[in-house]
Amino acid sequence: MDLEFSHVTAKKKGFVLKDITFSVPEGFITGLVGENGAGKTTLFSLVMEEYARYEGDILAGGMVLAENRREILQKIGFISREQQFFQNFNGMQNADFLAGFYREFNRDCFIEKMKEFGVSFGTPLKGLSVGEFIKFQLAFALSHGSRLFLLDEATAGMDPVYKKDFFRLIHEMIAREDAAILMSTHIEEEVTRHMDYVVRISEGAIESVKEAGEWKP
């Protein structure tokens, strides 16, 4: 499922996103790069939040987000360290709580992915490492048939071993699934090694949209 921002302008807590226009095509990893406070997380919140206010259009899979939010969110996997899950409960309990909200949630798939990613079933989410928490979110997203993955600084604080494993999973997802990935990062190495397209954002505005091969830090 692709994602398209078309002349999106939004004001949030004094911060302004100005005329954001770019696409996240299926089958590719699009990097969203920019310094802290550039507007990366604000952009994700426009997609995920129910009462997000903005001008312009956000389309996912050809559908207008504002008119089809519930339908579109069925296919979005949002992965972030700030993700709202129930921290006092383990991964399986969280999946049991939230499965009902997703028509296509597959419990067996979730169990399989958790085992594949090596995430403990019995540990409460607050007891997982950053890498494990991110992998739990990936397992959950894959289990409800996500086709658009939004990763907000997912690798920040992750150790190199986990990071290598994480990107292997990301590339497998892109190769296997009919998926699109938008991933924010400010780590140059990740951009040059793993992204197909790079969108640079600064002070709430898009500076450039390029193929990763043309991008320079």
């Binding site: 995920m48 129910e50 519930r70 709202q84 129930f86 921290q87 709580f97 009902g100 909200f101 997703y102």
Partner: protein, 153 residues
Amino acid sequence: MEAVKAFDLEWKKQNSYYFLMYRFITILLTTLGICTMFIPIDKTEIVRTSINPLLLLIWGMHCHLAPYLTCVEEGKSISIYEKLKWMPVAKRRIQAVRREYMIKFCVKAGAAMFIVQQIGGILDGSWGIFNVLYPLWEVFFLFLVGIIDIYGK
């Protein structure tokens, strides 16, 4: 709405001790509040005689709704709406289900209050129209507070 109820069912199952504790307090407070309704309304001091049962019932209703409205993490109370904000469900649907629970509570408590107040009024020999109106306005205020509880989070 079915998805919200499925969540609530699982939430209640995984938080059984939390729910049991709140249920005990709800029953205690609501029973006390209903029992005070045996005292027939004093027409000359309506506010004073109606405030005690109302406060007890509001507190009881708050305890009835609390486990569906908040969760506690690291000592902080967090709204369930906040936890579910990125799920494919509209906030108004979650609120609608909580409103349903609140209305059921008001109806049951209201019916009990009504019956008890009529009995109290008849036994006291002072039964009149105020004995009918009194439980109705108690339920009305209870409903208002419930709405604020649900939609104010």
